[in-house]
């Protein structure tokens, strides 16, 4: 009976109910997007950092990994020291640089990572084999396309330019043995991976014993943050970054988006709340006579309050699935815009769908729907029956 009355009341004003549902759906969609934005970016970044299982990163003092061209000297002894630690399961030293590949009359420049293929965590092999031997390298699709080569081909690559001799420096002939996908590179960024010893030789004497970064995987059960503190004390010439510290730094840099998400999410919720409250208040005002008659024939006050609350809740409930679908669609669109940030790793999503985000949005909306029925239902419940009936009869 309660549901039938609430349904009849909503159906009586179809246009109004439809607009209210649409309004709440847009608010719900926006709310979901903002909940996804506020938590998704962090989760996406965390899963990216942990995707290869390395919890710590050692960078030159005062820098973030690959934020500058600074390198760590005497890195071989540092890597040996780390590998000897009981907490450490695996260490992957990485040297960054550039390769210049002459193609016809022009030169294609690419980012290059020198690493130890057996322990690396920077790329995933898509096809072929890892570049293990001195004359081998692996490339991503963007680079293969740019130079028009395939697996098995050989290329001539240089690590730099010699301005005085007007020639390329550190030239090597390398065979492409693998097609890879770099984990931390941007979508269209060209990249090549080769053994760290080869890249060091190509870069010359300056690069001997240097690395740009060391990634450390800890044994199961070892706490990353306390190990980070320990390593920073043991090796003061490097900055040790744990996953939580990296996330904190990214949070700091991108706090704007999180705060925007909180503000817009709150605004969406308020708009939805106001909309339903307004619709319900006007609806109650219109039905004052009807409500007074119901009270006069013995319908309990609580029953009338429940009917108004059910009406508000019904609008929210119908609008929420619509809003969630709308939110997922707009999140995909907004994510496609933000994914064009220069240098952003391909796998980072600003809007990451998590069931918890949907439940949070749903919970807030249901709460909002219930709250929005409070004022109108209080108004309907506190009507003076005789006065209202007389006013309604006289008109």
């Amino acid at each position: 009976m309660l549901l039938t009355l609430a349904f009849a009341s909503l159906i009586r004003h179809r246009a109004r109910t439809l607009l209210a549902v649409l309004g709440v759906a847009v608010s719900a969609g926006m709310l979901l997007d903002m909940v996804m934005l506020s938590s998704g970016m962090r989760e996406s970044f965390r899963s990216l950092l942990l995707s290869q299982g390395f919890q710590l990163r050692l960078a030159p003092k005062g820098t973030l990994p690959f934020d500058t061209e600074a390198t760590i000297r005497d890195a071989d002894s540092l890597v040996a020291l780390l590998r000897a630690r009981p907490e450490v399961e695996r260490v992957s030293p990485v040297l960054g640089g550039q390769l210049h590949i002459p193609i016809g009359s022009s030169t294609v420049t690419t980012a290059a990572l020198g690493l130890e293929p057996a322990v690396q965590g920077d790329y995933e092999l898509v096809e072929g084999t890892h570049p293990v031997a001195a004359g081998e390298l692996a490339m991503n699709d963007a680079l293969l396309r740019a130079i028009g080569r395939r697996l098995g081909d050989t290329v001539t690559a240089a690590a730099g330019y010699d301005a005085q001799l007007r020639g390329l420096s550190g030239v090597r002939t390398l065979r492409i043995v693998g097609r890879v996908r770099f984990v931390y590179m941007a979508a269209e960024q060209r990249g090549a991976a080769l053994p760290i010893a080869t890249l060091r030789m190509m870069q010359g004497a300056d690069a001997t014993g240097r690395i740009s970064l060391a990634m450390v995987r800890l044994r199961d059960g070892i706490d990353a943050d306390s190990t980070r503190t320990l390593f920073e004390r043991l090796i003061p010439r490097v900055t040790v970054i744990s996953t939580s510290e990296a996330i904190r730094q990214v949070d700091e840099r991108l706090s704007y988006f999180r705060q925007l998400a909180v503000i817009l999410g709150a605004v969406s919720l308020i708009v939805g709340f106001l909309l339903v409250t307004t619709v319900m208040t006007v609806s109650v005002n219109e039905r004052i006579g009807e409500i007074a008659v119901m009270r006069a024939i013995g319908v309990r006050r609580g029953r009338i309050v429940a009917q108004i609350v059910v009406e508000g809740g019904a609008i929210m409930l119908v609008a929420t699935p619509l809003g969630l679908a709308l939110g997922l669609g707009t999140a995909r669109y907004l994510n496609s815009i933000l994914s064009r940030f220069p240098g952003l790793p391909e796998r980072i999503d600003f809007f990451l769908f998590q069931p918890s985000a949907a439940w949070t949005a749903l919970g807030l909306l249901v709460l909002c729907g219930l709250l929005s029925g409070i004022y109108p239902s209080w108004r309907s419940a506190s009507l003076q029956i005789s006065t209202t009936l007389r006013q309604e009869a006289v008109g």
Binding site: L19, Y161, V271, T278, E286, T330, P342
Partner: protein, 270 residues
Amino acid sequence: MPQAILVALLAGVMQAHDVRTIAIDERLAADAGLRIGDRVVLAATPESAGDTAVIGALVRRGTDPAEIARGEYRVRLHLTQLQSLLGYGDRVDRFAVQTRSPAVTDQAIARINDAAFGFRAHRSADIAVETSTTFAVVSRFHRAIGVITVTASAIFLLCIMLLKVEERRRDVAALRLMGISARTVVRSVVLEAAAIAVLGSAAGVGVAALASVIVNSHYQAVYRTPLRFSIVTPDIVLLAVVLSLALGIIAGWLAARRLVATPPLTLFGR
């Protein structure tokens, strides 16, 4: 002009002391408690001995959006001083070249690139476009959010107007029974809707101006920059007023048309 002052300052201090001078970020000075005239040791790596330098100037961070998310400190040194500190020899990362007139810029770029080996010349405007990609992305994101907000506002406004007009069912019925034409009723409702829209937009502009002040003061404090994050320009105000006026008029017209299409006695509930 600030550059000229900085150079003059540096030159003055250079004459006064034998130790070379540097300019540091105002933020670094505040955080490290440094002042002009203080001596500091600069080193390229934590383990190296480094050189002593005197702080000759404090530099305020510019209103460059590219710098807002970068939390690191900046130290400006004489070129040779930094080259020697880093063991860079006579290497530089880039040159800035000022041409005699914009007309010869293309020619200069072509000649430099013909002669260059291992580097390329680019027009400053092209570099600015390249480096502002981040802000183009943020701007597109804001525009998309704006479209969603406008859609939500339009539905909200339409709903409110519908309710406002429906509240006046009896007034409209009385007017119609008195012989007032449907056209006049529609016009009066539309006029009322327009008035509400204009008043609402005026209030909205006030709220936006206040929000802008709060946003600017908050983010200027967070990022420690004089950059203005939110500005309410006459163009934006005009767009908002025109948009809400149009939406108000459409919503009022739709609601009024619906009302006058209903027989007056039905509106009275008879």
